[in-house]
Symmetry: C2
Subunit: 234 residues, 2 copies
């Protein structure tokens, strides 16, 4: 699976959150980190090529007045010509998966009826969903990073894994697909240790397992996997 | 009432719709037509001054991928600092009225469940409403101009009047407020003719009345006014 992460942040070098997410994405295969504000000039053909080769396209940005920074809109307005997206019955993005990674300094609980914002992020993100719908894309749930700097180290570790899963775990986020993703990651991890002896590998694997067992949700998931259940989680 | 129309359109000189709306706004008093893409540089202090003196602030733009063109977002991101909008318990836009004039090439019927777009303009405009809510502004209904170039001349005449009413008729759009608006406009019209004799004035007034009576909705409104009803229309 090839994933294109279209990142918009006008001051990306001052953003701890973006730095963290970029580090999380870096070791992953077939992932393109594409920061639009760093583009000197938008080459529409090159952008179309990038989009066409991707199986999953993610827009990632901090919430600036309830939508992406102007840089992403400029990129969208420039790159997403009508003819490219749906003109002449040509749907160049059809059946690609569409994700949104939204970072915000507000707590998530604000985004609900009765909360400070009074509406959900799902509602606020309607324009992007409308776009993806028009393009006949497959719409993934929003991935939210709220108040990153308040997160404890275990929370950040969980965030890292969840973000990596959002980038290339098979859609939808079912228990089976999670299990496959973890198996694949563990196998990759062990294969990198193939030169060393098995005992060392197992030790490291044990450490890896211990680490993720600290994290509640993953813990639950692993327990369910152990029990051999294969119902979807959602 | 002072109205600030913040217009965003990257190719405004090629837009018949914007030309039409600008002509409609031109003769009106206390209306500032503020085209953001024409600003060479955004002077934040000057923009704040403009915003502060306005009683009604309208964002006006064509729908580009379900939101304003990038130029408006750039203006918003630049001008709407947190401290200006809601920081330190200072709400500089509090109790000002907030309007949206949205022009689109799609027919209005597309914007509903079951329509081509599958969602309403109200839903799509959520980010702007969230902004206005955060700023403690009074949110007016959206004013939509759909498929301007398909409109007949009487439809365009009605659009012109409706747009002028949206710019400075007292909120909300009740029958009383409409009646006041029309009375004020007619009086202004007659006063401009004060040098000429009454007969001429009445002739022109008659013509004015005949023109607006062609328009169905206005016709209904006038009939209701004649009947002396004063229930709110909505």
């Amino acid at each position: 699976m090839k994933t294109l992460i279209v990142v918009s942040h006008p001051e990306i070098n001052n953003s701890q959150t973006e730095e963290f997410l970029q580090q999380a994405a870096k070791p992953m295969e077939d992932v393109t980190w594409h920061h639009v504000e760093s583009l000197e000039k938008i080459d529409v053909d090159a952008e179309h090529k990038l989009l066409k080769q991707a199986d999953r396209i993610i827009f990632q940005f901090p919430l600036y007045w309830y939508s992406a920074p102007a840089g992403l809109k400029h990129w969208i307005d420039t790159v997403m010509g009508r003819n490219f997206v749906y003109g002449d019955e040509q749907y160049n993005l059809e059946d690609k998966e569409f994700g949104l990674v939204v970072t915000t300094g507000m707590p998530l609980k604000d985004f609900q009826v009765g909360g400070t914002e009074g509406m959900s992020l799902d509602q606020i993100m309607t324009p992007y969903r409308a776009f993806a719908k028009r393009a006949k894309m497959i719409i993934m749930p929003i991935f939210t990073v709220a108040q990153f700097w308040y997160q404890t180290e275990p929370q950040q570790m969980k965030l890292l894994i969840d973000y990596q899963r959002y980038i290339n775990q098979k859609y939808p986020d079912s228990l089976n697909n999670r299990q496959d993703w973890f198996e694949h990651e563990l196998t990759k991890f062990v294969s990198r240790l193939s030169d060393e002896d098995e005992r060392n590998a197992n030790l490291v694997l044990e450490t890896f397992r211990e680490q993720i067992e600290d994290l509640d949700q993953l813990n639950d998931t692993l327990k369910m996997i152990k029990k051999g259940e294969d119902d979807n989680l959602e």
